[in-house]
């Protein structure tokens, strides 16, 4: 989500940032384009208007900060307005009530209520150790109740046994009763999908609310929704008083306009976002970070958190030490690759890096994908421990064996070895030199990875931008730096450090930094 809005907005704003002075006309022109970008991203018309007006007013009254260029000032104003529109504070589920706390899911057909119900149940059960009961009140859609029951089994959460012939209100009562008797903390009520103009069903929803007295009423809405998102959110809110919004399919290439609009119009916080089909693909919603992502500033904070949760700190420290001494063997490379996979693959990492979002297409075009990472690990695991420690022993016949073992061609093995050699060389160089000359640049590149943990201060978005331009655009340098891309352009001096930049992730020590 948000990529395309991000592309457009950063394009518009790029043209402003480089300039020393801005006229009112410049700002106006830029804001017109911002408005169009918002509309193309399905931001509600009224919200887009108000957004642009908000920025314009602030721009007129903005204090001139000496050290900041006017263009950067506008970027900041747009960023602030985005955060404001998205809801400022982070907001999670509120379960502070006498158990059993009822949570009711409402929304259109196909918004993802049932899946989300199961995801929330899993999250509450695992992270907060709550005892959760789910009940499907959807007696309309064929097999909807079975779907929740199956999901319940998958995530290890109990569901209310299905009794044929019961109405939704009755089921809600039974679920709460059962939860009270058996000591459940939370009851999640999954209701049937309904359109907000469907009067009898809206009335039924109000009845369910009256019967179950839910503490949270979550409107589940599809991030791909267009201009209608606002009507939808408004009508549900007016009818039952929504307490929060869960946005689903945020992993699609939708443009997030619905998120901006629904929050702005209802004033209800977006509490959670669904980011995939797996049952743990549910995340909190952080307006500030999302605003960063929209403006192409990356979301380093989320990446760091992800890294902290997924990277083995001890291993990472060892790898850093090895790198420093210039002893970076294939086992280490394999570990690094495994970490990339754990962080959501190359795509996942790249998407969160500042300034890199724009290069996404080029990266995709170069065929850098996670399959490649997997294949490289396969090559390494087809080697003997000795070969991994000392790749120089790999001569033709060994290479043939390794290639056959990994199901690749010998040239793929060669590519991997070459890549590893280059990385090891760069690392050796890095170990000695600090800043200055080319090494300084390398240091900065490391900053990209290391900014997430290596210890160097994270560069500002402007610096990142400049870096991305300098290194990213010519000959897909970024892609070239990643290991073993088929037919990658010959790595130039600037391409080399790219992968170490990523590998710098390994240097992250989450515990020390906090």
């Amino acid at each position: 989500m948000f990529e395309s809005l991000s592309d457009k907005l950063s394009g518009v704003l790029d043209r402003l940032t480089g300039r020393g002075a801005l006229s009112a006309a410049d700002v106006d022109a830029a804001l017109r384009e911002v408005r169009r970008a918002l509309l193309e991203a399905d931001v509600n018309l009224e919200v887009a208007r108000a957004f642009v007006e908000n920025v314009r007013q602030k721009a007129v009254g903005a204090e001139i900060v000496k050290s900041v260029r006017p263009g950067q000032m506008v970027v900041k104003l747009v960023h602030d307005a985005l955060v404001e529109t998205l809801g400022g504070e982070d907001s999670g589920l509120d379960l502070a009530a006498a158990p059993p706390v009822a949570v009711m899911m409402v929304g259109l057909q196909g918004a993802g209520k049932t899946t989300t119900a199961a995801k929330i149940a899993k999250r509450l059960a695992e992270r907060e150790k709550r005892k959760v009961l789910m009940a499907s009140l959807d007696v309309k859609r064929p097999a909807a109740q079975e779907q929740l029951a199956v999901l319940g089994r998958q995530v290890g959460v109990e569901t209310l046994p299905i009794v044929a012939g019961r109405g939704p209100v009755e089921i809600a009562r039974a679920a709460l009763e059962d939860a009270r008797l058996r000591g459940f903390d939370v009851v999640i009520l999954d209701t049937a999908g309904r359109t907000h103009v469907d009067e009898p069903l809206m009335a039924e929803m109000a009845e369910i609310k009256a019967a179950a007295n839910p503490h949270e009423i979550l409107l589940v809405a599809d991030a791909l929704t267009g201009q209608d998102a606002v009507n939808l959110a408004k009508s549900f809110d007016e009818r039952v008083g929504v307490t929060g919004i869960v946005l689903t399919r945020v992993d699609g290439d939708g443009r997030g306009g619905a998120a901006l609009s629904m929050r702005a119009v209802t004033g209800k916080p977006i509490k959670l976002i669904g980011v995939g089909e797996k049952m743990d693909a549910l995340e909190g919603f952080h307006p500030g970070r999302i605003a960063d992502r929209i403006l192409g500033m990356g979301d380093v904070v989320s990446l760091v958190e992800k890294a902290a949760a997924n990277i083995d700190a001890e291993k990472a420290a060892k790898a850093v030490e090895k790198m420093r001494r210039g002893k970076f063997d294939l086992d280490d490379l394999s570990d690094q690759l495994a970490q990339i996979e754990r962080l959501g693959g190359l795509g996942g990492i790249i998407g969160m890096l500042p300034g890199v979002a724009k290069m996404k297409d080029q990266i995709a075009a170069a065929g850098v994908d996670d399959k490649m990472v997997r294949r490289q690990r396969a090559i390494i695991s087809s080697m003997t421990p000795k070969e991994r420690r000392d790749p120089d022993v790999l001569k033709a016949s060994r290479k043939k064996r390794v290639a056959a073992g990994a199901g690749v061609k010998v040239e793929d093995v060669n590519k991997l070895l070459k890549q590893h050699r280059q990385m090891a060389d760069v690392m050796k160089a890095m170990g000695g030199a600090k800043r200055g000359g080319m090494m300084g640049k390398l240091g900065q590149m490391m900053g990209m990875g290391a900014g997430m943990g290596g210890g160097m201060p994270a560069p500002s978005p402007e610096e990142m931008e400049a870096l991305a331009k300098r290194y990213g655009l010519p000959g897909q340098g970024f892609a070239a730096g990643a290991p073993g891309i088929p037919d990658a352009p010959p790595p130039d001096v600037f391409a080399k450090p790219k992968f170490p930049g990523l590998a710098g992730l390994g240097g992250f020590d989450p515990f020390k930094k906090k």
């Binding site: 399905d42 057909q109 009898p200 290439d253």
Partner: protein, 350 residues
């Protein structure tokens, strides 16, 4: 196999309640006018269903148009606002601009009444949509005629298949439904219930099975057993998920092994509430699965489905069906004129 009319009857019994719901706030329910030539059991005319379904949406835009144009010239400021109103109907900036320009060309500076504006707007939208309003042609000579149904999660694929099954069974065809959504919990059961309701045959594998393998088996079996139509469901997938799109490509590839011309039609199901993302859906599903036509669902909300205009401008793919409710009857061929009139807030005749 076709004796499942009892199941069908259950749906028919629901109809009054359904009509009540469909027509929601309308003061009086629509008269049940039997369609002239269709079988006697057919519901009220399609047009009344569509306009009542769409009326809520079109009044929103219609209202805007009244407010704007009651006593004004069609000058630049008015056109700006018209463009905004079109954007609010999900036409998207590009299509809205095109429609605006077309209106400006003919009528700039003239006095224009509300009716004029609606008329012109409807005409312009209709002009864009007419070339794509084509029914799904099921060639009887091809047996089985294989239809693959694709779309993002929750767009309404399975329900649409249920409706298609009803249509084909009513036409006297022998229909197989293939439960290709092996991923989502209880998706197979859901399609099974539709098969039972409509009297189609369900071909299903196990949950978690490879949908491509199922496609191969199902098509082979349908061929051997002389089915007329085979409709294959697929798991919902977001179009930017490369691995899931690759899985879909495999389904198509495997179907071609049984019959090089299969799938004979690939239907992309779009939710009416979808915004400009529909453009990306059509592009990427088109690339992967060779989409041959579109179906738009859930037009019974306030969503206007205006993105169809943008899609027609850009891709020109046929729009076969629209869906306006949850029963098998809430489904009909797409009509450019009706749709355009509804978008422009022009009332129906009945």
């Amino acid at each position: 196999m076709r004796g499942a009319t009892e199941a069908g009857m259950a749906d028919d019994d629901e109809k009054p309640g359904l009509m009540g719901r469909l027509f929601g706030r309308a003061a009086s329910p629509a008269p049940r006018v039997p369609a002239p030539s269709a079988p006697a059991t057919k519901p009220p005319t399609w047009w009344s269903r569509l306009t009542r379904g769409l009326s809520r949406s079109s009044t929103a835009l219609g209202q805007g148009v009244v407010d704007l144009f009651a006593k004004r010239k069609l000058d630049a400021a008015t056109l700006d606002e018209l463009e905004d109103a079109l954007i609010a109907a999900d036409l998207g900036p590009a299509a809205a601009k095109r429609v605006r320009e077309a209106l400006a060309r003919d009528r700039h500076g003239r006095d224009a009444s509300e009716a004029d504006i609606r008329e012109a707007l409807a005409a312009e939208v209709e002009r864009a949509l007419t070339p794509v309003a084509k029914p799904l042609f099921v060639e009887s000579a091809i047996r089985p005629f294989a239809i693959l149904v694709v779309g993002v999660n929750g767009s309404g694929k399975t329900t649409t298949i249920g409706k298609l099954a009803r249509k084909f069974v009513d036409e006297g065809r022998k229909v197989a439904l293939v439960a290709g959504d092996t991923f989502r919990a209880a998706a197979i059961e859901q399609l099974g219930i539709w098969a039972a309701r409509t009297g189609a045959t369900l071909i299903a594998g196990k949950e978690g099975a490879d949908p491509a393998g199922l496609a191969f088996e199902a098509l082979t079996r349908a061929k051997a057993e002389g089915f007329d139509v085979l409709v294959m469901d697929t798991a919902g997938r977001l179009q930017n998920r490369a691995e899931l799109m690759a899985e879909l490509a495999k389904v198509v590839r495997v179907m071609k092994k049984v019959d090089p011309a299969a799938p004979h039609a690939v239907l992309l199901v779009l939710d009416a509430t979808v915004g400009q993302n529909a453009l990306s859906q059509v592009e990427l599903f088109g690339k992967t699965a060779g989409v041959t036509g579109l179906a738009m669902t859930k037009l019974d909300g306030t969503a206007r489905g205006g993105v169809l205009v943008a899609l027609a401008d850009r891709f020109g793919l046929p729009v076969h069906f629209i869906g306006v409710g949850e029963t098998a009857e809430d489904f009909a061929p797409f009509s450019a004129k009706d749709f355009a009139a509804a978008i422009a807030g022009k009332g129906g005749d009945d």
